[in-house]
Every structure is written in structure tokens, then in C-alpha cells.
């Protein structure tokens, strides 16, 4: 485990206020999901259907991307394929230069977080403003999203008051509605003045060449309609075949994400403003991003990772996420989905301990609306980490220990003897549980266990000994 990962986990666990904020917010989202999906009699059938649509699409991704592209262009839009972060930034910068643009408004998009778009644009002197309230708070605080759906989930209203006071130079305000009004006043001006709007996408609909954006604040609708130029940045896996497939996904998305029946706004954007229309951009671009996604396609077991619709349900239900929060994770995607996407997009060496930071409880797989078998993928990734370690000749002691374990448990007589020796060394506190052991026994795993919990006292006789005496 990297020192950084370990330290972030420790710091988050040690921060009592942060623990309360994470636990409380995720509890509300978690319960909301449970209540709303409980009302759907065909919930499991919908999951099966959503999984089947995603599976079919990912297996025929080239076909549907081409169909999407044809239909976007038929409506006067343009599709741009980008392989990585640099290509996305170069495209946006080039367009901004061409249009003499200075101000960009953005609606919430994990994909743009993935390629550090704001930082790259700001580096070249452009002002890029987040307009989702949570994202705006984080941009002011210079932080990355804490959660896929609720980016500022870890911030209390008092934290927000501090951030607004410091960055916006306004009087300290702790009432949430009034804080929203402060942000709204700033952002309205930005919407009106912006040259370019950048959004993400929830779905790219192949048969209609449309971008579907699901949101609650209306900022995405303004972002995509007020500025003269609109750019959607989306991962290639966001494509779905037909508009009618949205009937399946929209029933699942808001319920799984926030416990809403539907989100407040569902916008369908297809091309630039046409003659006679009052709203909409003059130019409409869709950037389709690879950034590692195509690397997953050949892998039969793991490519289902691309089915994700970014609802965040796996984060809210995950007992690990609920303790270590979003910023402990080594990349922008956190929680169980982050634990499977990060090693696949960035390589297992990015943080080799990540797939192991799970008790494999399976709660994530149970709530996933598109039925991604996250625990299975974590297990596959653990095996990938070991293969990479073997190639790099790392972690040889642990490998040796597991080889020894496999050897010992396939030699029952020696296994029994080893068990008896270990038991005879352990202290016995009159049948009570053990809180410390002699130095010789205080091996790293024992020490780690005892740092948190007591150990069972060794029984006088093993089961097999008792069984023989019966």
C-alpha cells in the first residue's frame, strides 16, 4: 500500500466531523434508494434489462458509436474522438481560440474531472466555472469531487460558509437556502456572459443523435443552451442504442442515485439551435473520450465495468466508502466503482492496494442498477496485481507465505502439528479473549489484528482431537 493511501484512510477515520458528514449523507442516499426501488414491482427485471442493453451495446460499441456520430452530424452537430486528456484539452483550447472565447461555464461531469479539464483550461488563461452547486463549492475550495453524484457530500453548511466568505468575500452565511442564493447570483452572471458551455452526458442516444443529461439544479440546461457554443464531453461507453432504452435507464438512475422517482431536469440535446428555435447554441460538439476505455473491451470478465451509469449507489451502500470517504481513493472515481475503474484505466500499479481495500461484502453488486459484478471484478484485479508483482519481482515474502499456506493445508498431519504448536505458544487468560501476545508471536498480521480487536483464546483441543475422542 502506498504511504499516501494509508495516510488518507487514517486521516479520514480520525476526523470525527468528517465521519459524521459522510455517514449521515450516505445514510440518507442509501435509504432513499431502498425506499424508491422498493416501490418498483419490476425492479429486478429492469436491472436485468438494463444489464442486457449495456452488454449488447458494449459488445457492439463500434456500430453504435458510428450510428450516433451519423445522427449527430445529420442534425448539424459534430463528433470529435479524443484518445486522452491532452486531446480533449487541445480541442477545447483550439475552439476557444478560434471563437476568441474567454469564459466557459461547465455543468457537472465526472468525465471532465477525469481529464483535469478545468486545470488545463485555466493553465491557458481561460476562466472555466463549475455551475453545479456542489462542484462550484469544490472549485472554490480547490478540491476534487468527493462522490460521483454528490461531489460536496463531505462539506457541512459551516464549511460552505467558510469557503464562501473566504473566496467570494461575502458576509458569513450558514443558512443553506441563502448560500444557494449567493452561488446563484454569481453563476447567473457567468451563464449570461459565457462564450462556451461544457457538459457531460448521462446517455448518448445512437438512434437519435441526442445527448441526455439528467440533473436537479437546472444548471446543465442553462450551460447547454445559453452560450453560443456547446461541447459535450462523454466517455464512449455512454452510448445506448435507442431513445426507448431511456425508459429503462431513467427508471433506475434517479432512484438508485438519490432516491428520487426522476431527477428534476431531463434534457435531450440534439444538434445546434435550428431555424425558428429560441434557445440553444449555434454550434454543437460531442467529444467522445477513450482515455483507457478501449483497453477494457477485450476482457470478457472485466469489460462489464463499462456498463456503469454513474449513479453512485455502490458508494452510498459501501461500508468502506462510508468510512474512508471519497478523497482517500487514488483517482477521481471513488467507492467500489472507483476501485474497479482506477486499476483498469490507470494500470494496477497506480495503487496496487486499491482492489484489496474491500471486505468483499458484495453490497455494491447488490445495489448496482446495471448489475455490474463488482466483487468478481475486484477478485480478478487482485489476481492481476499478483501477476504484475510476480513480473516485477515485488512482494515476494507474501507470495512465499501463501505458497507455504497452500503447502501446509495440503499436508493435514503437518497442518495439525503446526496448529498445536501455535496454540501452545499463545497466552491463555482463563478462557478470556487475548489482548496481547508474547513478542515472538507478535508477527505483523497478529499485531495488526490486536491493534483493533482481541483474539480468541486457543482451545485446549482442536476439533479433530475432540472428534477422535467422541
Amino acid at each position: 500500500m502506498s504511504v499516501e493511501f494509508d495516510q488518507k484512510i487514517h486521516d479520514t477515520l480520525a476526523d470525527a466531523n468528517l465521519q459524521l458528514a459522510i455517514y449521515g449523507s450516505t445514510a440518507r442516499l442509501k435509504q432513499g434508494r431502498i425506499d424508491r426501488v422498493g416501490e418498483l414491482p419490476d425492479y429486478q427485471e429492469l436491472r436485468t434489462q438494463a444489464n442486457a442493453i449495456k452488454k449488447h451495446t458494449i459488445e457492439n460499441l463500434d456500430y453504435y458509436l458510428e450510428e450516433f456520430e451519423r445522427n449527430v452530424e445529420a442534425r448539424g452537430g459534430k463528433v470529435v474522438y479524443c484518445k486522452d486528456a491532452t486531446e480533449v484539452a487541445d480541442f477545447v483550447l483550439g475552439l476557444a481560440k478560434e471563437k476568441d472565447a474567454h469564459l466557459i461555464v461547465k455543468s457537472k461531469s465526472m468525465t471532465t474531472e477525469e481529464v483535469d479539464l478545468n486545470e488545463r483550461l485555466e493553465h491557458h488563461g481561460l476562466e472555466s466555472v463549475e455551475t453545479d452547486l456542489g462542484e462550484y463549492i469544490l472549485q472554490l475550495a480547490h478540491e476534487k469531487p468527493y462522490h460521483i453524484v454528490a461531489p460536496a457530500l463531505h462539506k457541512t453548511r459551516y464549511d460552505v460558509a467558510d469557503i464562501f466568505t473566504e473566496r467570494l468575500h461575502v458576509a458569513r452565511e450558514t443558512v443553506i437556502e441563502k448560500q444557494t442564493a449567493i452561488a446563484r447570483a454569481v453563476l447567473r452572471e457567468k451563464f449570461l456572459a459565457a462564450d462556451i458551455g461544457i457538459s457531460g452526458a448521462n446517455f448518448l442516444v445512437a438512434d437519435s443523435g441526442a445527448v441526455a443529461i439528467i440533473e436537479n439544479e437546472g444548471n446543465a440546461r442553462l450551460t447547454t443552451s445559453a452560450p453560443k457554443v456547446h461541447i459535450t464531453v462523454a466517455g464512449i461507453e455512454k452510448v445506448i442504442p435507442r431513445a426507448q432504452d431511456l425508459a429503462t435507464f431513467l427508471k433506475l438512475l434517479a432512484r438508485s442515485a438519490t432516491g428520487q422517482l426522476l431527477s428534476v431536469y431531463a434534457s435531450f440535446l440534439a444538434g445546434p439551435r435550428r431555424a425558428g428555435e429560441v434557445d440553444g447554441p449555434d454550434e454543437f460538439y460531442v467529444v467522445l473520450l477513450d482515455n483507457g476505455r478501449t483497453k477494457l473491451l477485450p476482457d470478457r470478465a472485466k469489460r462489464q465495468s463499462l456498463y456503469c451509469i454513474r449513479c453512485g449507489a455502490c458508494l452510498n451502500t459501501c461500508p468502506v466508502y462510508r468510512k474512508i470517504g471519497g478523497h482517500s481513493f487514488p483517482w477521481v472515481y471513488s467507492g467500489p466503482i472507483g476501485a474497479i475503474l482506477t486499476p483498469q484505466f490507470m494500470g494496477v500499479a497506480h495503487e496496487p492496494a486499491l482492489p484489496f481495500a474491500s471486505s468483499l461484502c458484495g453490497a455494491c453488486g447488490e445495489v448496482c442498477p446495471v448489475k455490474i459484478d463488482i466483487p468478481k471484478i475486484l477478485l480478478e484485479l487482485r489476481s492481476d496485481v499478483r501477476k504484475s508483482e510476480a513480473r516485477e519481482k515485488q512482494n515476494r515474502l507474501e507470495k512465499l507465505a501463501f505458497r507455504g499456506f497452500a503447502w501446509l493445508v495440503t499436508h493435514p498431519a503437518l497442518y495439525e502439528m503446526a496448529g498445536r504448536i501455535a496454540a501452545s505458544m499463545a497466552p491463555s487468560e482463563d478462557g478470556g479473549w487475548i489482548s496481547r501476545v508474547p513478542p515472538l508471536m507478535n508477527l505483523p498480521p497478529v499485531k495488526a489484528w490486536l491493534s483493533q480487536r482481541d483474539l480468541p483464546p486457543p482451545p485446549r483441543k482442536s476439533f479433530r482431537e475432540l472428534w477422535r475422542q467422541r
Partner: protein, 230 residues
């Protein structure tokens, strides 16, 4: 784990199974199913142990385990391990149908819900993750507990949240695992129950370890131990 740390659980399970009319054999070559290696990413080592398991239990009519997690390893993951070995895979498929978790063996195979147990205490039940989510076991242990004389079951909220054990996770991420255990024991203590019952010795070791560290008198028991009480 039962053999080396919790032998009473094994004896209790044998007693209950005998009480409902089964004769028990304990193949002495048995050790482990290989899950620790599998979950740690060491698949070759897991295969070695799994092969030993297959050899040991080849001739058994039914195999009953006092653990949902070990059962799930055999019935859900052995096949993954031997995907590329058709002959071993056929052996796995023949075996996995005969492997049962203790509570569901009683309700689904033996067809028994009342084993004549008596345990006049207030208990709460912890769902082990693999029993619950991989094997889909929720009702069986509760039905068995409902038929224990004198026993009152008080559900904790939530019963299905992980205790934080997770095998090597418990020591690799000790602080995190400990924090998860403490959240679990808060839920347990809120019920006012004196005993926590579960299907998995590993969950019970984690929960009892945390209870003991917190100085709580609440104790843990495997379902088999409760059902063996009279």
C-alpha cells in the same frame, strides 16, 4: 477456523445434525477451502488447496459447513478457478451440488425448522455477507431461531451491513476494519441483546474481538451452538 479456534461450533453442528437423524463423518484430511489465497489474488495456490478439498470430499454424500463463506467459496468460486481445466471443472460441478451451509441444510434438505432447542435469551442475528449475498440466505436461520424455546430475536439495524472482517482485509486495513467492527457493535448494543448469533465463525471472531476490546459482556455464538442448547 472451526478446527483450530472454535471446535465447539463443529461439535454443536454434529450434535444437531445427529439429533435430526444424520450420521456424521469427518474426513480427517480436510483443512481449508482455499478462500484466503483466492481472495488475496493467489489463484495458483488457491487451486492447489481447492484440489485437495475435491480429493478429500469426493466420496461424501452431502457436505455441510458451519460457514456461509466457505460454502460460497466452493459453490460459487471453485468453478472460476478451474475454468480452463474441463476435467476438474466437471468434478467441481458434481461436488458443488452436495455442499450445504448448515442452516439451509436443516431447512431445505432435512426439512426441519424445529430442532428441539431451548435457549431462553435475547439474541440478535448478524447476516454474514457471503451467506446473505452469494448464497441468498436470509430466512433459514431466522426460521430456525424462531423455533428455539425461550429465545427472543431482536433484529439490529442494519443486520446486513458487513462486520469488517473480510479475511486478510482485517489485517491489511486493520484500522478501517476495526472502524467497521465498531459500527457493527454499536448496532448490536442498541438491540439490548446479550448474544449475537451468526452463521460464520469469521464474522463472530471479528465481532467478539471488538466486543471484548470494548469491554462489553455481550457474547457471540454460532447458530449451531444455539440450536445445540437444550
Amino acid at each position: 477456523m472451526v478446527d483450530q479456534l472454535f471446535p465447539k461450533v463443529g461439535i454443536a453442528m454434529a450434535e444437531v445434525l445427529e439429533r435430526v437423524g444424520y450420521s456424521i463423518d469427518f474426513p480427517e484430511n480436510q483443512t481449508c477451502c482455499g478462500q484466503p489465497a483466492f481472495n488475496s489474488g493467489y489463484r495458483a495456490e488457491a487451486r492447489t488447496v481447492a484440489r485437495h478439498f475435491l480429493d478429500t470430499f469426493e466420496g461424501c454424500e452431502r457436505i455441510v459447513a458451519p460457514s456461509g463463506s466457505c460454502t460460497a467459496m466452493v459453490t460459487h468460486h471453485f468453478a472460476e478457478l478451474f475454468e480452463k481445466e474441463p476435467e476438474t471443472l466437471a468434478r467441481v460441478h458434481a461436488l458443488e451440488k452436495r455442499v450445504w451451509e448448515f442452516a439451509t441444510f436443516l431447512t431445505d434438505v432435512a426439512g426441519v425448522e424445529d430442532v428441539g432447542a431451548r435457549f431462553p435469551q435475547v439474541v440478535t442475528f448478524h447476516d454474514g455477507c457471503h451467506a446473505l449475498r452469494e448464497l441468498g440466505i436470509r430466512a433459514a436461520p431466522r426460521r430456525l431461531l424462531a423455533n428455539v424455546r425461550g429465545l427472543e430475536l431482536r433484529e439490529m439495524l442494519p443486520a446486513e451491513e458487513c462486520c469488517g472482517f473480510g479475511g486478510t482485509f482485517a489485517v491489511k486495513f486493520a484500522e478501517l476494519s476495526g472502524a467497521m467492527a465498531r459500527t457493527k457493535i454499536e448496532a448490536i448494543l442498541q438491540t439490548g441483546a446479550g448474544t449475537v448469533v451468526s452463521l460464520d465463525p469469521s464474522c463472530l471472531m471479528q465481532i467478539q474481538g471488538a466486543l471484548s476490546r470494548a469491554g462489553s459482556p455481550v457474547r457471540t455464538m454460532h447458530l449451531a451452538e444455539v440450536l445445540a442448547s437444550r
